[in-house]
């Protein structure tokens, strides 16, 4: 009789014991250089160039934490000491990180970053900023060379990305600074504007100055003759300790990268990835003049195997912990109604925090990687488990519960012999819900370097490559199905036979 609750505990412990070593990174003996990147092509390629340079020098290993979800997360990781460096842009540092647009020069930035234990390299040689582009034939016909030339041609039809249309350092500010009066400005997703321009449906679009498509299309980028667009010079954003700890590596990075990547080179590398479908590492190798690492079938299969293990570990560990916490919390909630309401509200509120926000809250506490992902996933999995345990126990026939008291069962006996087994169907339903949800949510772990199938999805999103997205999304869906089936089978171990649906009479 007591076996049922004992079995649940045993399963949880076994799952945790098996999965824990897989989930946590083993710390290398020599501290590696931890290279981060955001999740867009250019940042991936630059980070790969950095990582491969580190490996070339051989002073320390390179540990790649690529495809992190946005400035807040990557910067948070760098500030917390979880990253040693990542590629960043001066404009982003002054505006988004220091929140002081007046700091523009490299020296001024360094002076502000120094007290934080951070520094930047000299510029790598290109700007990634907004620019306006027209077709070459339009430029030649109308004699367009700079943005101020547009004043004479209010009839030009423009298509701008929603972000550019809204940002103060985009169209609204630009129009005021140059006194532009375009009659026809429409909103269009960035991915579609090149096509619209090429097909002649519009005459003017906004671009990023290192966009890969720029290297291939026959476009003229209009000069920012009034210097409106803020400088977004690419630099390496690093912890100051890196240069002290690994002087040869830092020197090599400065020698091989600083001032060596101009806008055309960057656009060409971006094009290799975005247009030719080459891996980030291959584009980086091209720049470094090294043989490109191949990407044959077996390697993808091995990668998929590794990601599957990572994903499974994320799900298993977070779920095991969520069960170990959630079931007792549910029991407590059922015992003490006041506390229970607070608790259910608490786990409910957790659920309303968007997953990405929750993940980024974890960074100051746990850094980036597997641990914060596990914590966030575990918090997400709590709600269905706590709520179902609570509901399962609260809804038991009061006469049956009273009878346990009358028979002289102690609190633990009543819980283990009567309440948990009788509520087991409901509790298991909550755990199944949590399991399937966790498989899906775990794909977001990639945004904070937690690994798993999300790595492919994030990469695919950066490349706008549906095949890569599906390579992550389909196994994730299959895993959700498999886990659902596994838990249906687990019912046989946990739920007493007569409670499992039909009973022979």
């Amino acid at each position: 009789m007591a076996a049922s609750s004992g079995r649940v505990t045993a399963i949880v412990v076994i799952l945790a014991a098996v999965m824990l070593p897989v989930g946590l990174d083993a710390h290398a003996v020599a501290q590696p250089v931890r290279v981060g990147s955001k999740s867009f092509t250019e940042n991936y390629v630059l980070a790969e160039i950095v990582a491969q340079t580190v490996e070339q020098v051989g002073e320390a290993k390179a540990e790649r934490k690529l495809g992190l979800g946005g400035t807040g997360i990557v910067y948070g990781a760098l500030a917390a000491g979880d990253l040693d460096l990542y590629p960043e842009y001066t404009g982003t540092i002054s505006r988004a990180i220091l929140k002081d647009p007046s700091v523009t020069t490299v020296e001024a930035l360094r002076a502000r970053l120094g007290p934080l234990g951070l520094t930047i390299s000299d510029p790598l040689g290109f700007d990634n900023t907004y620019a306006l582009a027209v077709r070459r034939d339009t430029a030649e016909r109308l004699g367009l060379r700079a943005i101020s030339d547009l004043r004479r041609h209010p009839e030009l039809r423009a298509a701008f990305d929603p972000g550019f249309l809204e940002r103060e350092d985009g169209w609204p500010g630009l129009r005021r600074a140059y006194g532009l009066q375009l009659a026809d400005v429409r909103i269009m997703e960035h991915a579609l504007t090149y096509q619209a321009l090429a097909s002649g449906r519009v005459d003017l679009i906004d671009i990023f100055s290192t966009d890969g498509r720029l290297a291939r299309a026959d476009l003229v980028v209009l000069a920012d003759d009034l210097g409106f667009f803020p400088a977004y010079q690419a630099v390496l954003f690093a912890r100051r300790s890196l240069a002290e700890r690994l002087p040869r590596t830092w020197a090599a990075l400065e020698r091989q990268l600083v001032g060596r990547i101009d806008g055309n080179t960057m656009a060409r590398l971006n094009a290799l990835v975005d247009l030719d479908g080459r891996p980030f590492a291959a584009a980086a190798a091209t720049f470094l003049g090294r043989p490109a690492p191949g990407r044959a079938g077996p390697q993808l299969r091995r990668e998929l195997g590794r990601l599957t293990l990572e994903h499974l570990a994320l799900v298993a560990v977070s779920l095991a912990v969520a069960v170990a916490l959630g079931v007792p919390l549910g029991v407590l909630a059922a015992r003490y109604p006041r506390l229970g309401q607070l608790e259910l509200m608490g786990v409910g509120v957790l659920q309303t925090i968007p997953a990405l926000a929750l993940l980024s809250f974890m960074i100051p506490l746990f850094g980036i990687g597997t641990v914060p992902a596990l914590v966030a996933l575990c918090l997400y999995a709590l709600l269905p488990i706590v709520r179902n345990t609570y509901a399962g126990i609260i809804s038991l026939d009061p006469q049956l519960v009273d009878m346990a008291t009358v028979m002289g069962l102690g609190r633990r006996q009543r819980l283990g012999w009567i309440e948990l087994p009788m509520a087991s169907v409901t509790i298991m339903a909550g755990i199944k819900t949590a399991a399937v949800l966790t498989v899906g949510t775990a794909t977001l772990a990639a945004f904070i370097g937690g690994g798993g199938y999300g790595t492919l999805i994030v990469t695919g999103l950066a490349l706008n490559d549906v095949a890569t997205i599906l390579a992550g999304a389909i196994p994730s869906a299959l895993m959700a199905l498999a886990i659902h089936a596994l838990f249906e089978a687990l019912d046989r171990l946990v739920v007493p036979r007569p409670l499992r649906g039909r009973v022979a009479t």
Partner: protein, 255 residues
């Protein structure tokens, strides 16, 4: 103390209210050792509240309840389990446990060894007239009468001096009911238990009860033997209650 020894259950001016309603209203009762005391009344008359007060599932607002010489308090509730066995309508068996597991629960809670439990189960199965192979069945696989016999085994597991039965036969068909009624009377006599039986069925009260307390609106209207109640009703309500359930004379005559 001598009087207390023969009175196993004593209510001294007990009142228990739920909101504004007094479910039990200044009730005083005494149940003599070895007798069967029937609490008779319609639903809402306070019968079940009295049982819950004896079981320690409720406390009196005023007055006191004494069971086997011990005052019922929240702290003493576990002690009560050894003194009081409890049987309710349809048995209230746990659906996830076999009949044997259900019946053995009170012993298991006290850490009995398996052989002792087995022997006790076999003895009780014979006493209540349950075929032993049925002990391995789950409650859903048993008939209503069989479930009630298992419930009785569970109540008797620790051999308590007091048995409380709350409408034990309420959900059974007439034939099963009659058979179980006979068996219950026999078991009470054989074991010499002190029994408190709650029912609204006059026939059951007549067959099983040596003393009857008729309850209405939380008060004891009259206490005595069936003959006392029938011949000298203390209030018009008593006669009315008894008459309402009596079969018409033509029916009794033609049987």
């Amino acid at each position: 103390m001598g009087v207390e020894a023969t009175r196993l259950i004593v209510f001294r001016d007990v009142t228990r209210t739920f909101g504004a309603r007094a479910a039990v209203d200044h009730v005083s009762l005494a149940v003599e050792r070895g007798t069967t005391h029937v609490l008779l009344g319609s639903s809402g008359s306070g019968k079940s509240t009295i049982l819950r007060l004896i079981l320690g599932l409720l406390w009196p607002d005023s007055g006191e309840v004494i069971v086997d010489g011990i005052r019922v308090t929240p702290e003493g509730r576990l002690e009560l389990a050894r003194r009081v066995g409890y049987v309710v309508q349809e048995g209230a068996l746990y659906p996830h446990l076999t009949a044997a597991h259900n019946a053995a629960l009170p012993a298991r809670a006290r850490g009995w060894a398996t052989p002792a439990m087995r022997a006790r189960l076999a003895m009780l199965a014979e006493l209540v007239g349950l075929e032993e192979h049925l002990l391995q069945q789950y409650p859903a696989q048993l008939s209503g009468g069989q479930r009630q016999r298992v419930g009785l085994m569970r109540a008797l597991m620790l051999d308590p001096p007091v048995l409380l039965l709350d409408e034990p036969l309420g959900a059974l068909d007439p034939i099963t009911r009659a058979a179980l009624q006979t068996d219950l009377g026999r078991i009470f006599r054989e074991l010499g238990k002190t029994v408190v039986l709650v029912t609204h069925d006059i026939r059951e009260a007549f067959l099983l009860g040596s003393t009857i307390s008729l309850l209405n609106n939380g008060r004891v209207v009259q206490q005595g033997s069936f003959a006392d109640l029938a011949r000298r009703p203390a209030e018009p309500f008593v006669a009315e209650f008894l008459r309402a359930q009596a079969p018409p004379p033509e029916m009794t005559a033609s049987l």
